[in-house]
Structure formats: structure tokens, C-alpha cells
Subunit: 261 residues, 2 copies
Amino acid sequence: MACTALIHKMDAISDLRADDVVRLRQLCLNVTRTTRFCDIISQGDRPLAVHLIIDGWAARYTILPDGQRQITAFLMPGDFCDLHIPILREMDHGIMALTKCAYACVDLDSLQDLTTDNPGLAVALSRLTLIDEAILRQWIVNVGRRDAGQAIAHLFCELKARADMAGISHGPSMPLPLTQEVLADATGITPVHANRTIQALRHQGMIRLESGRLTILDRDRLQQLGGFDASYLHLKAAPIKAAMGRAGITASDASRVASQS
Amino acid sequence: MACTALIHKMDAISDLRADDVVRLRQLCLNVTRTTRFCDIISQGDRPLAVHLIIDGWAARYTILPDGQRQITAFLMPGDFCDLHIPILREMDHGIMALTKCAYACVDLDSLQDLTTDNPGLAVALSRLTLIDEAILRQWIVNVGRRDAGQAIAHLFCELKARADMAGISHGPSMPLPLTQEVLADATGITPVHANRTIQALRHQGMIRLESGRLTILDRDRLQQLGGFDASYLHLKAAPIKAAMGRAGITASDASRVASQS
DNA sequence: CGACACATTGACATTCATCAACTTGGGTGG
DNA sequence: CCACCCAAGTTGATGAATGTCAATGTGTCG
């Protein structure tokens, strides 16, 4: 089903009931497809519907007067482009497909009905917006206070964590169909410098990045370099699960571990 | 009354009714005071109440493993520290007073009651969160793609616009009790470089900045340097009002102007 | 009068941008 | 099927923006 990524992600941050899943699936009925580099929503658009990425990647971006571009968010399957934006009057930035994309258009009325009928889902959707906000803060840290290597490392850690949430990872590997120019526009550097930075990460054996896939070869070292701490993604008990996985301990052990830290 | 700034700001972004104003005033009953450099909320705190700045300035900040600080938002009177954060589990960043501060603690139940009774206010409060998000995106652009002079210029334009919204400006002048070190941590540069950058703006006659006050001497030039466009603040018809003020035209003229652009 | 925080200045180091060339790989038309 | 083409990646040389270090001013407060 088309909404898999959204449901996977929602389940990672809140407790979904069976009927919640049914309601979420109904969001994905009206699917549109677009080609690469095509605006899904343009700056200044008045929102008539909410858009949900089903397949492919997109980016929020702003163009400066001198023509430079800054990407302020990457959108992968399961991400909303403009959830809650109807509360404002118009888009203050654009959203562009970075690959061929499929996205659902959810009309405002049916979204309104859903949140009215199901306050629990309304809260879960608000949580998505707040997590987006936390991600934005981390991006400010990335471009403001981390050098190129740290910023790329942190970005890759974040994208991997989000890909895991969306269920589009395969073990340590995930699709990452982004050019170095796009990665540069996200981290506030130039494509040339992005190239050199990525090569350094490769040579240090931390990642593999080729033919549209990213593989994390040394997660601990990459996270340490980027200063990555997943707590800002507000996953449901994820740190404990992760600790369990690494230590090979049981859930009851984990609760003790958590209360000690 | 203590809530003046909030009401002024809410009125700038949505249509407040008389009873809305009454309800908002009731938020400011439980006021706390704190000294400079004191955390209002710390990273990891579980939200028990929502905090609203009444007087003084504060900042959202993140400390990196190597001790560097990145400020991700400035909070002035009328700004909420953690509106809607209760939807998440804990603060993923801290908020520190940059001056002596007075802030209201609004307990979650009374906020809940208010939004239940008054859906219009609930929407207006959600709008605040979305505007915060838009500001975060602009900060990413600031640190990512603007040089130091452009970034400081844009920041000053934003702060002035927000001070106008909060009603704490006096003509072209506003309180700005921030050290150069703080401004540097917000724009991703060093204090030394912030000093030189600010001096350049002064020597070019764009601003005056002394004894805790910022005066915009040449708004047009400052806005052009920073590439500032206030639309991301989603003010209620502000561009038209501003155009009226400058051109000395009437409201009916303004609507024609607006439809032409 | 210190003591202190903050602002300012100068000299030098580093990161990153810029410019320009070249390589590589996948697609496409003859 | 091959030749070409183009986007994307890679490399090297050089310059500009910014960081770092260290010293000196300047105003406020006790």
C-alpha cells in the first residue's frame, strides 16, 4: 500500500491503533506523479491540499536574490510537504522534487474530518510538525557551528535515522539519490567542497556512497564525528531499543539501564 | 498588563476578538523572574507548563560536544518558549535568559481549556508555532548562504520586524540587549568577526547599536543587504499597510496596488 | 581604585570558495 | 553498435572570508 512509509514513521513516534492505520491509509487515495526538478509546491502558493511524499525525494528550498540556493529540508517517503501550512496564508518557500516523485494530495476537508474524529491522530500529526522543527534547529547547528565534514556526517546520520523510521532502509544501507550539488546546498558549502568532504569520509571508511545508495560502514565513528544524538527526533523509546540491540539485553534490563543514565 | 506583547503580536497575525484578549490576559497570572544566564528550561526537561516571555530576552541554544554554542532562536516579550512542546516528551534544547527575565508559567490544563473553549485562539497559537518554523528556515539560509554582513543585516531586520509586532519598538529604534558574543553564536561566526561586521554596518550608516539599543538608520539599504523580505513572518496584510504608510495612500488604493504586484 | 565583562584591534592561520580543466558513466541518436 | 553527449563527479591552483590568538581599550560596579 502506498502509505507504508507514513504509517511506519507514525508508528515510530506514537502508538497507533488499528483504526488509526485505516484512517491513514485513506489519505493516500489521490496520487500525483511528477518529474525530477519539478516544483511540487512553489513559494507564494495558497494551500488547497496537503501533500504527502509517497515515493522519491524532494527538498524545501529558498533562492536568494543572488541566485544561491539553500535547502532547508529533505523530504523522503512518509514526509508531509506542508502539513498545517493551511493555517498560514501562503508558502514562504518552495518544494522541489529531487527525483521522480509520487505524492498524495489530501484535501483539507478530509484531513479536517480525520483530526476531528480522531484527536489522537491529530496529536500525532502535530508531533510530526514539532519534529520537523527540531530537525530545522539541528540544521542551523549544522551549518552554523560544524565544519563541512561534521555537517555531512551529521546529515547522513539524520537521514539514516529517518530512513529507518520510514522503513526504507536495508540494514546499514539506504537509498540516497542526491547529487553532491544538492548535498552542498543543504549544508551551506560548495559542490567542490562537498566532493572533497565526502571523499574524506569514504577514505576514512565511514561510508559508502555510490549509485544512489548510502551505506554506513562505521556508525559509531560517523555519529561521533557529526556529534549526532538521535534524541531530537523524539523516537518512541528508541534509545532503549538501540541500547538493547547493542548490548544484547532484554527489555526489563533496558528499563533499569534507562533509569541509571 | 503583563501580556501586552503577546496580545500585540497575536493581533498582528490574526484577528482577535474582545473575548480572545480577555482569555489571553488570563495566561499571565503566574509570573516568575530569573536572572541573566539562568536556564528557563533545560535540555531534557519534561514539560509541566508552557512558558511565555513577558519581559527581557532569552535564547534557544544547543551546546556541541566541543563546547561551541549555537543559538537557534531569540525570544523577546510575547514569545512562547515551548508552546506545543508538551506534545513531545522532552526538550531537545535549552532556553537561557540573556537578560533578567520575567516569564509566565501557564499550566497545561488551563491552556488545554482555553484551546478547547476557543478554537479560533487554538488556530492562532498554532500559527505562532508555524511562524517560528519559518523563522528557523530563514536562520538556516542566514548561516548557510549569507556572508557575515548579510547575516547580521538580515537578523537585525527580522528582530526589528518582530519587535514591531510585539510593540516594543520606538520608531526606528528597539531594545537589543545582546552582546556581540551572543550575536555571533546566532549567526555562526566568532565574536571577533561579529565585532568587525557590526562596525562595518555602523560605518556604512545603516545602523546604530549602543547601550542595548538598535536603531535602524537606513532600513531600505539594510533590507537589501540582508535580502530581507518580511513575508515569511506571515503578518496580517502588513506589506499593504507598510506600502500605504510610505506612499500616503488609502486602504482602497492599497488593495489595487496589492492585486497588481 | 581595582576588578571584571565587553568591545576593539592587529597579525597570522585555516577553511572554504572560485575558477578551470579533466574524467567517468549512462543514455541517445545516427 | 558505436559515437557522441551531457550531467555528475573529480582534481589542482589560487584567493577571499573567516577563525585564532593575543593584546589593549572602555565603561560599570563595588
